[in-house]
Amino acid sequence: MQEYLLEFEQVYYTYPGSERLQPPALNGLTMKIPSGKKCALIGQNGCGKTTLFLLANGLYKPNSGIVSWCGKPLIYNRHYLSKIRQKVGLVFQDPEQQLVASTVEEDISYGLCNLGLPETEIKQRVEQALIEFGLTNLAETPVHHLSLGQKKRVSIADVMVLHPELLVLDEPTSYLDIKHTRNLMKTLKEIHQNGNTLLIATHDLDLVYRWADWVFVMDKGQLMLEGTPEDVFSQKTLLEELELGIPLILC
């Protein structure tokens, strides 16, 4: 098994048209995502977390630098990218952005249909996903009738049904109340136990402290710090300088 699933090496990315206005969104980022771990990514708003995720999924191409999967650089052609997008499952912050079809079960089937799987397998995998994510009685509900927590659950099911090796979630707990956050974390725990690698971006430091095995700290498009939660949160002065703070438990 590969030690690192996804690697970023000296990656620079600037949004087209904003060259003169802002510094690059990713400014020479080097980062390796260890396989089989629960990783968390913290950093202020606008530090480049979402950009990083879009690059991880091959949606954006770096201006310079290399993004590689299992040691091999990404190739930006349609065929290869569709394979990468199956292996790296990306859950957007706003579920509205991701839901395509009009009912829950149709939406879950969308990614599978894109893979061109036979109908019997699609049926079986959709039904399994509905059970796993507790969506069975919402199967025929139109997506615009769902609550935000339910939409979030559907958007994770959408991605998990493709059996990705790395699941990337952009601020999964924003918009969610405590109950739904707990349910979500339980689901993520199960996903991890099935052998997936997870990477979440979040502002909830207590959650990071309790949940993560490995923590990345980003600032201004660069990786500032990485390590186990204990190591990272022991560097109080650096975290204060970055205005990130530390979990309440450690205060």
């Binding site: 569709s82 952005q97 079809a101 009912t103 079960e105 089937s109 969308y110 139109p142």
Partner: protein, 270 residues
């Protein structure tokens, strides 16, 4: 209102019937109502009310309000057909057609016989055909109409466009609502002047936000492996009901029979 109709379509008692049955039924009755006369049309409107209110259990109030839309719309346009006016000098020409008339100076205003017959025909036809379409709208969710279109081998481009429009209507409504609430909470509609200003801002912002939503949506599509066509898998969990099928077929046969008898002149001779 559109959201309420949408909810009803997903929750009515006829949901489990195969959508193509309901589509065929609605279009058959629609064609009959377009080709037939007042008696048959009134019967169709009544029969459809039974289907909608009793079989599908759509609240009568909702259905009544929908029908009122049609009726009010007709009532505002029918007087133009019924009421005619001519100069006094031409009175003899329209004498036969006049049902009841009044003289105003140089003009004779009257209710026309042929116009009234025409208006009555339009009213019954409008009621019958809208009740058929309401049956379709209230009992078949839009997604199932799309599925049936795909099943009938409609071009994928057309069904994809319809699907995206349907999704975007709700995103657009939500965005507009959010903006409106935000403006209201900051007193954006307190006076006529600020209302106009806020409305202009709302419309401009709506365009901008829609474009933004669109670019995010296309990223979302790509991340999920968009391959040039929107394809989904549909489970079929419908049960055709012999009872409803028999009623629908018998009813249509009776209506067509009635219309043929009428045309053959049996009723008028007796």
């Amino acid at each position: 209102m559109s959201l309420q109709l949408d909810t009803l379509a997903y929750t009515n008692q006829l949901r489990k019937l195969p959508p193509e049955h309901k589509l065929i039924f609605a279009f058959t009755t629609l064609i009959i109502s377009l080709c037939s006369h007042a008696l048959v049309q009134i019967l169709i409107a009544l029969w459809m009310t039974v289907w909608i209110v009793i079989y599908a259990r759509i609240p009568a109030g909702v259905y009544w309000r929908l029908l009122m839309v049609t009726i009010v719309f007709c009532l505002t346009s029918l007087p133009a057909l019924m009421v005619n006016g001519v100069a006094i000098a031409n009175l003899p020409i329209v004498q036969l057609d006049s049902w009841y008339g009044l003289t105003f100076g140089q003009f004779y205003i009257y209710i026309s016989r042929s116009g009234s017959i025409q208006a009555w025909g339009i009213l019954t036809r409008a009621l019958a055909s809208t009740s058929c379409l309401y049956f379709l709208v209230l009992t078949v969710p839009f997604t199932e109409i799309l599925q049936t279109l795909r099943w009938l081998k409609f071009p994928a481009l057309l069904t994809d466009l319809l699907l995206l429009m349907y999704r975007f209507i709700f995103i657009l409504l939500k965005t507009a609502n959010e903006l409106l609430t935000a403006q209201n909470s900051r007193g954006g509609y307190s006076t006529w002047h600020t209302s106009m200003k806020s409305l202009a801002l709302l419309i401009g912002q709506l365009l901008q936000r829609t474009l933004q939503q669109y670019s995010q949506f296309s990223l979302g599509l790509q991340a999920r492996g968009f391959a040039g066509e929107l394809r989904f898998w549909h489970p079929r969990r419908y049960h055709s009901s012999p009872r409803y099928t028999v009623e629908a077929i018998c009813g249509c046969v009776v209506l067509i029979g009635l219309e043929i008898c009428r045309n053959a002149g049996i009723f008028t001779r007796i």
